[in-house]
């Protein structure tokens, strides 16, 4: 009993509409005023695709099983939704690890479907060369993305150590594993009837994902998350080839190119080469030559002094970094913004592309704290303005303000584009202590004449400055 619902034309048309809606969803994400319309387009597209697929399955006409299978479909959808709601309600500071976790979930789905398709294929008429090729791409990319993303999520949640774990010959081991997996894939393409080899290949991909992310430190997370995003997309596109489903190919290609573009932006912002990104070797040991330098004198200031200097300024630029997120200081920073704005002081925020742990991390945190987004400036837009800035206030950012990146060829971050905060009249840096930052790179900014160090917890310090500014008014 094949009805209209079960026909290829029906589902093909639904998928066509859904594809258009997905493209519109991304097109409308261009800027905040239209972005929420983009979500709506995405949701409608998704609902149509899921609804259409379920109806089509009913229309295929295996009546005796339909009731049971439908029940299971709705149970699975219900459980998935029940897991998804809390994942959609996490705190904004937890967004990077949530994103990593969802890359893992997406890749998990793709890997499971790929494995199921493989076993269905070898039970049936075998698997043609092209299908087997894309199937191998699907499960290798999917498998490594599952564990790679779980590792990234673990590091971001600080369940796992954030520091890079490296050992001798790491790259040889990693590339060797990848080569073995690809070798097995090449064999399977021509001899698909080897389920044990298939499972070994998936297993290697899964272990490879762990090994790939182990050597990567917290500061490199924006690039890694983007790259895993791209892998997740490409594995979904590969699944689209396996199932000859154009909607999946389109969604996977969109996601793959999105992750790819973000990885390129992130790697440029960290001055890492393109090959470095593609092969995931960006975690390579950053030997810190400066870590053991002798103590040099720095000038420090109290909250009262800092408040006095800020009150006397007419233009202030705040440079936020991961430290602001860790200290949950974004709401206090917003109070500071209010207090200064009320005095007629022009306050802007300078956002480095890799500030934080994922692309756009700082923007979301500051938006959460109700800082208007037209005051958030990209690096290239604000860098020329620093000579006219009275006070630059650096909160929990380090490497992205390091002038050594421009001058010191021996510095591990030499060549990385940085915010030119040292050109402003006064620089104030809120920092816990003089311990070098995560990457262990010394920052000459701290020893400059115009720099004042504000030692303390970012949230408490900003809060004290705000008290001074509002109390003394």
């Amino acid at each position: 009993m094949t009805t209209i619902l079960g026909s290829q034309a029906f589902i093909g048309f639904i998928y066509l509409v859904a594809s258009a809606l997905f493209i519109l969803a991304l097109k409308w994400m261009i800027a905040p005023p239209t972005a929420r319309r983009g979500i709506l387009a995405g949701e409608i597209g998704m609902a149509l695709a899921i609804g259409g697929t379920i109806l089509q399955l009913g229309g295929e006409g295996r009546l005796e099983h339909i009731a049971i299978n439908y029940t299971w479909i709705f149970i699975a959808l219900g459980i998935g939704a029940a897991i998804g709601v809390p994942l959609g309600l996490v705190q904004m500071t937890a967004v990077p690890q949530r994103t990593a976790l969802s890359h893992a979930f997406g890749a998990f789905c793709v890997t499971l479907v790929g494995t199921a398709e493989y076993f269905l294929g070898i039970q049936g008429n075998g698997i043609p060369v092209f299908k087997m090729t894309v199937l191998c791409c699907e499960v290798i990319l999917g498998g490594l993305t599952v564990t790679g993303s779980l590792m990234a999520a673990g590091k971001l949640q600080e369940v796992l150590p954030q520091r890079p774990i490296t050992y001798k010959g790491q790259n040889v081991v990693n590339l060797g594993m990848l080569a073995v997996a690809v070798g097995i894939a090449a064999y399977l393409v021509h001899n698909p009837m080897a389920p044990h080899l298939f499972l070994i290949m998936v297993g290697i991909a899964v272990v490879f994902g762990v090994m790939l992310v182990i050597p990567i430190g917290g500061a490199d997370m924006p690039t890694v998350i983007s790259l895993l995003n791209s892998y997740a997309g490409l594995s979904a596109a590969a699944m689209g080839f396996v199932l000859n489903n154009k909607l999946l190919i389109i969604a996977g290609a969109l996601d793959g190119s999105s992750g790819f573009i973000l990885s390129v932006i992130m790697s440029k912002a960290m001055n890492r080469s393109f090959t470095n990104v593609l092969f995931g070797a960006f975690g390579q040991v950053q030997t810190s030559a400066a870590a053991a330098q002798e103590q040099r004198p720095v000038k420090s200031a109290s909250p009262e002094e800092a408040a006095g200097i800020l009150a006397a300024a007419s233009r202030v630029v705040v440079v936020p970094g991961y430290g602001m997120a860790v200290a949950q200081a974004q709401h206090k920073v917003r109070e500071l913004y209010d207090a200064l704005s009320k005095r007629g002081i022009d306050v802007e925020f300078a956002i480095h592309p890799v500030a934080g742990r994922m692309p756009g991390h700082m923007n979301v945190l500051l938006a959460e704290a109700d800082v208007p987004y037209d005051h958030l400036k990209e690096m290239d837009d604000i860098n020329g303005d620093f000579p006219q800035v009275d006070v630059s206030l650096v909160i929990g950012a380090n490497d992205v303000t390091n002038p050594a990146a421009k001058t010191d060829k021996a510095s591990p971050i030499y060549g990385m584009p940085v915010l030119d905060v040292e050109k402003s009249h006064t620089v104030m840096v809120i920092k816990r202590s003089m311990n070098p930052g995560f990457a262990g790179i010394d920052n000459p900014l701290y020893y400059m004449d115009q720099t004042l160090m504000l030692f303390g917890d970012a949230k408490a310090f900003v809060s004290n400055i705000v008290k001074e500014l509002t109390g003394g008014h």
Binding site: E43, T53, N69, I79, M92, V95, A116, P128, K246, L254
Partner: protein
Amino acid sequence: MGTIIIDALFVFMLAGFIGFEVIKRISPLLHTPLMSITNALDAIAVVGALVLVGRHESRLAFILGIFAVIAATSNIVGGFLITDRMLKMFKSTRPTKS
């Protein structure tokens, strides 16, 4: 079979170009929500999983399909939800024109 493969490759190529052109215009301001919405859209892989469950061609495929539906659905629901929450927070001091 040959033309089906070529058709699929054409679709992939065109979608890749569209993705590239559309996404490179997106403001860095919204890169985090961009990543969460592409994550939700990517979970369209759920349709492949639904077919495995709905057709029930083998016990293994059926069980793997159920877990795949759960994983993808959680991404759809969680992804759209958090993207919406994030975008709601972005406010401008200037009156918005849409």
